[in-house]
Amino acid sequence: MGKQIKVALIGNPNTGKTSVFNALTGLNQKVGNYPGITVEKKEGICKLPRGVKAHILDLPGTYSLNASSLDENVVIELLLNRNDKDFPDVAIVISDVENLKRNLLLFTQIKDLEIPCILVINMADRMNYKGISLDIPYLEERLETKIALTSTRKNKGIEELKELIANYKELSVKPCLNASEIDKPYFDNLQKAFPNQLLYKLWLVITQDVNFGKTDRNEIDAVANFKTKSKADLKRLQQKETIKRYQFINDTLKKGQSIDLANAKDLRIKLDRILTHKFLGYAIFFIILLTIFQAIYDWSSVPMDFIDSIFASLSEWVKNSMPQGTFTSLLAEGIIPGLGGIVIFIPQIAFLFLFISVLEESGYMSRVVFLMDRVMRRFGLSGKSVVPLISGTACAIPAIMATRNIESWKERLITILVTPFTTCSARLPVYLIIISLVIPEGRIIGLGYQALTLMLLYLIGFGAAICSAYILNKILKIRSKTFFVVEMPNYKLPMFKNVALTVIEKTKSFVFGAGKIILAISIILWFLASFGPGEDFNNAEEIVKTEVQNQNLSDEDLQQKVASYKLEHSFIGLTGRAIEPVISPLGYDWKIGIAIVSSFAAREVFVGTLATIYSVGSDQEETIKNRMAGEINPILGGPLFNFASGISLLLFYAFAMQCMSTLAVVKRETNSWKWPILQLTIMSTFAYIVALIAFQLLK
């Protein structure tokens, strides 16, 4: 195997870099129709003609080589550091045929760095629709490059692109304009001071606001001291530079591109008139949310009950047909019910991801950003915080990563801190099962009470996020400049393949991620529940028999009593008893207590944990739902899961910070343990207090 060609995909946000990356490498990185989907480097391998291989790097989108947010900085850091192991042999600049003018700005800057460049003009399938035609040979000549016209939707032009990459040595490294003309004396001086350096690179280093973590510090310091101009002057010069570049681009496109406006159709304007309307826009947003919750509830209750009963029969079957013994009961009482507690939620999770990914692919997300910016600003957030808050309904981890796109550090930090309040998919299982137990089934104007409760819980999550943002905004003394520029992408019909892949991938990782944890937990739980210390556990049968001697119980009832007596005196029962005083004021028994404790590994194991505990403590296998409905509150009598304790549990899960992985990501993104620890203690204490108040008021 020869040396791999190192290729970097660079371009403005939302031009289809990741789509091209996926087409070249056959991978399935996340694609979506709003700027800022990719926030970190992703790599893959591409097979080129004649047995050559290329190492492809997908990068976050950037409008120019002047970074204004963390994700953009990744690109600049790479391009300015020739010693970086990923420094590209060839840069592929991806542009969108509809926004060519703006996309070429970045292209001309990269050309100035004298890196071999291929220009990809993507979304070629839209040319007809927009009445655009291009003179490719002319553009290639003017821009000193090779052009590949591609459409990842129609799978066109990818082979040609591979051919160009394989022949990258033939590319010119000549800049396509001379930017230093804007202030000749200044640039001449600069070059004289650092004769061995690339002029444009020096200029970038001088004008960069952000820190260059990895670039060679000494070199930069030396250059950065060579200011000789005030900040305001430098900014003015940058403005001049931008104007100069646009002049060149306008000249080029005047000849190289023609747009037949009569042939152009614009759906965007019509749709935007409604979707971003002052009042209608908000109404529609609300209706979309309402529909999602109704759908999650109504469409999935049938498959859910079906899966639930399958797992109950499976347990029963294993118990009856395998030889009795420790392994059989581990399987029937530990693992199967535990896994069942995850698998029954597949339908809802899949629906949730389906909706989120359609919202992301259609281009609607940015409209929500527009609608919500002013409201969010009141609370110290940015309109851009809406994206993490909405995609946080899938999972807080990618949502927190998505904040890298927010320019202001303060707004970004606040968004990171409050995002875990949004109802993530791991809370959904807990909500669904509790709601189905304690909220009646009726309907009001076609909407089920249960679906409305679910929606209310989501609103509570957003509400908590926004209110804590407000408080944080008042408390945190951070000054950072804020500004807000959002690009509104074109509406696109979601691509079936992208949506389907997202749904399948996300559902799979939900099931396997949670599955692994619950497998471990259910084995441990089963063990702790099936064994116990001392007399009480080992002689359970005799003790119970003498206790109920004159009650004339049937054999079956007696067995049941023995099993639950044993459970109470097992290791897990004793642990549960120990924590019971803390949680009984909230209306929970020790079994729920154990489930809450195991939820700190991951919330979604709540139901599975309960299923395993119940299964060991009883003789017959039943569906999880029936079992929970049959539990009796040990202190107050009556069903354990009633309205008061149900609401208290729902609120506890709404507010508590029970996710190790989120804490780890917050630590990484904020670079300190202070914030995750603060999150953990404040959110969990708050959850406890609210649940306590709710139960005491309602009981």
């Binding site: 409008y63 120019s64 002047n66 204004s68 926004n99 003018k101 703006r102 700005l105 305001a232 900014k235 003015r236 940058q238 403005q239 931008t242 104007i243 646009y246 965007r268 304007i269 935007d272 008139r273 971003t276 309307h277 002052k278 940015s366 950003v369 527009f370 609608l371 910016d373 002013r374 309109g383 500004f483 807000f484 520029v485 959002v486 690009e487 509104m488 992408p489 074109n490």
Partner: protein
């Protein structure tokens, strides 16, 4: 008549005359908000903030506070 971008009404078009290099982020300039280019106000959120614009063919939303520092000359139509 010269005024600021914040004064533009829905559906109106104008030519950009001057952009403050201190108050307006470079990013916006790079997206095409430069003297000589046209701008059209497509939509406004409540209280006219943020504003949804077509600047030189790019569809962008910016806040009113930024629009205050962009000088325009209204054209008709």
């Amino acid at each position: 008549m010269q005024t600021t971008l914040a004064q533009l009404k829905r559906g109106e078009r104008a030519i950009i005359v001057d952009v403050s290099s201190i108050y307006v982020p470079l990013k916006l300039l790079e997206m095409g908000c430069l003297p000589g280019n046209f701008v059209e106000l497509l939509q406004v959120a409540p209280f006219a903030d943020p504003m949804y614009l077509n600047i030189n063919g790019a569809h962008l939303a910016i806040r009113k506070e930024t629009a205050l520092h962009i000088i325009i000359e209204k054209t008709n139509g």
